[in-house]
């Protein structure tokens, strides 16, 4: 059965929130029989990450953390993968990065270095959250409007869909949430999500072999 490696840094509000929601997708992976390895908190560092990839050769790498055009970070934003340095660590994997901008350069460079596919965002991933749910981000329905579509990408891959289909499925869930905001009675906070749901949907990209599966 396939192996999944996830990075789950939790050093600030954004990483706490995305990591808490990513765990829901990891639960789904376990249900589907995946062997799941989590690099949480301080373990989300380059040394551990490279060591785990080399040892377990995960088919699916799920990166959660801050990033930029050329790199994705882990704990305390220290670089895990960087174009021009160690992008070949993603060789033979399908990677989904819930991270800012990494589909701009790192995605393409990792594919050139042998990654099968790389799904990520070309610009910053922007989301709203409920200040009252700061300590319980997994219960934050406002953040969920953004992070459920993100999870759908991982869940689609886990269910055997191709990289291309999984990224389209993510876009579909962003669009579904926008449709909900437009067609049902929603709170003011929910309605103001439209602009950022559209932003994330528009910037979601897939590089490499669209037919790749995990």
């Amino acid at each position: 059965m396939a192996t999944l490696l996830a990075t789950l840094p939790k050093h600030d509000q954004t990483t706490r929130c995305i990591s808490a929601w990513a765990k829901k997708a990891l639960d789904e992976a376990r249900k589907k029989g995946f062997t799941v390895f989590e690099l949480a908190d301080k373990r989300a560092c380059r040394r551990e990450f490279e060591s785990m990839v080399k040892k377990h050769k995960p088919a699916f790498v799920f990166l959660n953390g801050h990033g930029n055009a050329v790199a994705v970070g882990g704990n305390e934003n220290k670089v895990l993968v960087q174009a021009g340095e160690n992008e070949n660590i993603l060789k033979d994997t399908v990677t989904y990065a819930l991270s800012c901008q990494s589909a701009k350069v790192l995605g393409e460079e990792s594919v050139k270095a042998g990654a099968r596919a790389y799904i990520g965002y070309k610009e910053d991933f922007i989301f709203l959250f409920d200040e009252e749910k700061r300590t319980r981000p997994e219960d934050d329905k406002l953040a969920g409007l953004f992070l459920e579509p993100s999870n759908q990408i991982a869940v689609s891959l886990i269910k055997g869909r191709t990289a291309h289909d999984s990224h389209l499925n993510g876009k579909k869930y962003f669009a579904r949430n926008m449709q909900k905001m437009l067609t049902s009675q929603t709170s003011k906070a929910d309605t103001t999500t439209l602009r950022y749901l559209y932003w994330n949907m528009s910037n979601l990209a897939c590089h490499g072999d669209g037919n790749a599966t995990v």
Partner: protein, 93 residues
């Protein structure tokens, strides 16, 4: 050579107009005012911000402010040009 300078001048003017047009800043600030209180906005590695903090960044036209301007204006342009509903329906299909 004339063409080069014309292009250069046009680029700089459009850049300037786009980034510092007061009408755009006012429009983005007005849109941000619609965000409810008690909601934080996470903008990647830049951090997370309250409504008032975001407005301040936009008014100061700094890196965070420019990102928010891009997102807000991208959305409004998509509405104006009809791409929003096309993208919405296209991705729902």
């Amino acid at each position: 050579m004339k063409k080069f300078w014309k292009n250069f001048l046009n680029f700089k003017l459009s850049d300037f107009m786009e980034e510092y047009n007061k009408e755009i800043i006012d429009l983005v600030v007005a849109r941000l005012q619609t965000l409810p209180e008690g909601v934080g906005v996470s903008i990647g590695s830049e951090g997370d911000y309250s409504k008032q903090e975001l407005i301040s960044h936009v008014e100061h036209r700094d890196a965070v402010g420019k990102k928010i301007i891009d997102a807000e204006m991208g959305f409004l342009r998509a509405l104006k040009e009809g791409n929003f509903y096309g993208d919405l329906i296209g991705n729902l299909a």
